[in-house]
């Protein structure tokens, strides 16, 4: 038959081109998002990467300097300190957020607990609040003499109360407290959705086997929430390694650089000191970028190593 012999002549290459032609409208639909994301997300990385090898000042590219910027940043005391602070801030936040949001979500999920939506809503309020407002509220509450926290502590006989944001040993942990407050509700919502997806049969069966609530939590809840926990860690890493506004509003990196984070360090080096060291701070940006990539991929791998079986 004529049609069959014509079909036989179609080579894979022709088929490929035909598919492209058939999907021309699809490509048209994809152009806006690809253009937008390429120009404003991917291209800036390339720009930053490129600049990190030049002695750049603002818009001027300056001479090529090879790895000098990278050598300089790793020698810079301020940058080492910022990396350490960022790690404390990120992993401190993730640890406490995990504990609180996991614990609270298990409690809210108990069948006889009433007003579930109301609790969920209240816990979520900080997550829809701008970090600028969050920063100002807590800066006021943590004020060492007029802040409501220390006034309350004074009532309990603790005077003088801690100088939350001006004590070099305490400041970064004060920021962790604020950040945990900001994020707990967000992850509680994710955990709750995952908890509701666990069939109650599992719990009923284990009850018959004589397991108590703690055993159920360890051997049913935790393994089945593995994916959600991984996600919390990944999102926590992406959101907190880049943290910026909270420090900017509350401490400006002080006291003595103990709350300077990588993102604020990058900003300060580029715009804050009046020296516009774009090349230097581009190199710092790239380190931050690589850290986010490495941690994200690593925790994704870790979360997927073994399937959960019961």
């Amino acid at each position: 038959m004529f049609e069959v012999s014509a079909l036989e002549k179609i080579t894979p290459k022709m088929k490929f081109l035909f598919n492209i032609w058939r999907e021309r409208t699809s490509y048209l639909f994809l152009i806006p998002i690809l253009a937008l994301y390429t120009i404003f997300s991917l291209y800036p990385i390339i720009q930053t990467f490129q600049l990190s090898f030049f002695d750049a000042k603002i818009i001027k590219q300056g001479p090529f300097v090879g790895f000098k910027n990278y050598i300089d940043i790793f020698a810079a005391k301020g940058f080492q300190q910022a990396i350490g602070n960022t790690f404390i801030f990120t992993f401190g936040t993730i640890l406490f957020v995990l504990i609180f949001s996991l614990g609270l979500s298990v409690l809210v999920n108990i069948s006889w607990v009433k007003f579930k939506t109301l609790f969920k809503m209240i816990y979520f309020l900080p997550a829809v609040t701008s970090f600028v407002a969050v920063g100002y509220i807590w800066k006021w509450m943590m004020d060492s003499s007029f802040g409501v926290i220390n006034i309350f502590l004074a009532k309990l006989g603790i005077t003088p109360g801690p100088v939350w944001l001006a004590d070099p040993d305490l400041a970064i942990w004060s920021l962790v407290i604020v950040n945990v407050w900001r994020w707990v509700g967000y992850f509680l919502v994710i955990f709750l959705a995952n908890l509701q997806a666990i069939p109650s049969v599992y719990y009923e069966a284990s009850e018959i086997d004589g397991a108590n609530a703690w055993h159920q939590f360890l051997h049913i809840t935790i393994p089945l929430l593995r994916q959600a926990i991984t996600l919390t860690i990944v999102l926590g890493i992406i959101n907190n390694l880049k943290a910026f506004a909270l420090v900017f509003v509350m401490t400006q990196g002080g006291p003595a650089g103990t709350t300077e984070l990588m993102a604020t360090y990058v900003y300060q080096q580029a715009f804050g000191t009046g020296q516009y060291r774009f090349g230097f701070s581009a190199a710092a940006s790239m380190v931050l970028f690589i850290l986010i990539m490495v941690f994200t991929i690593f925790s994704n791998k870790l979360g997927r190593t073994e399937e959960v079986d019961l």
Binding site: T25, T48, L107, Y123, L125, T129, Y136, V189, F248
Partner: protein, 283 residues
Amino acid sequence: MKRRKKLSIQQVLQRISVYIILIVTAIFIAFPFYWMVLTTIMPASEVYNTEIKLFVSHIDFTMYHKLLTDPQLPVTRFFINSLIISIGATVLNILTAIFAAYPLSRRKIPGGKIFYYLIVATMMVPGEVVLIGLYRVVHSMSMYNTYQGMILPLAVNAVNFLIIMNYMLTIPRELDEAAIVDGASMWQVLLKIMLPLSKPAIYSAMLLAFLSAWQNFTIPYLLSSSNDMYPLSVGALFTENTLFATRQETLTLSTILTIPTLIIFIFTQRFVFSGITAGAIKG
């Protein structure tokens, strides 16, 4: 299965302690908001008080009046800027997401996987991480300190694309395939079938896009430089840093910045929650 039986004393105690934990946490989480609003409506003389008063002697809106009429401090302008920037970013973000999610969830496109991963990969590169590059790109396009210069970078938010895409994947294929067989174009399928059926996901994505654009600080802070372009978040910082605002002024600005998102959230919480969980499926 409803069974009413008498609870043992141990069970009653257990229930009480669970409620206590939940309520104490709720108070701890809600209290800062209460304290913020309370500080803004008390007479200025009572702000620096070392007594804890949970109520004000009389409600005083002087600070709001002062801030909204102060010629040095265009708070109304900040508010309008925030609206323009957030709405612009939301519309752009959602439109591009819908147009991309439809073909990627439905059609066999050569290179489709690559495009998908390209879009999703941007989640790992938030604006904060490439400040310098972003600043240069926006500058070189002569968009520094303009609305479009802030709207375009804020419109990059792949989470909302994922929410819409994941939802479209759950729509039965027969619906649009039948329409294609009947000779409908992709435009018609998108407008008549995919769009109406994806409404819940689109609402969720829109809300999340608006909330995150409204809250964003870093991008407008990096890309704007004058009073008439600042959104509220940047305006609040500007006020504190350059005009030496009092605590009460700063907190009043924070309240004006916070209230819109809280109200939107309270009335749309169902969509916000489903968006959060839907976006979280693909980690």
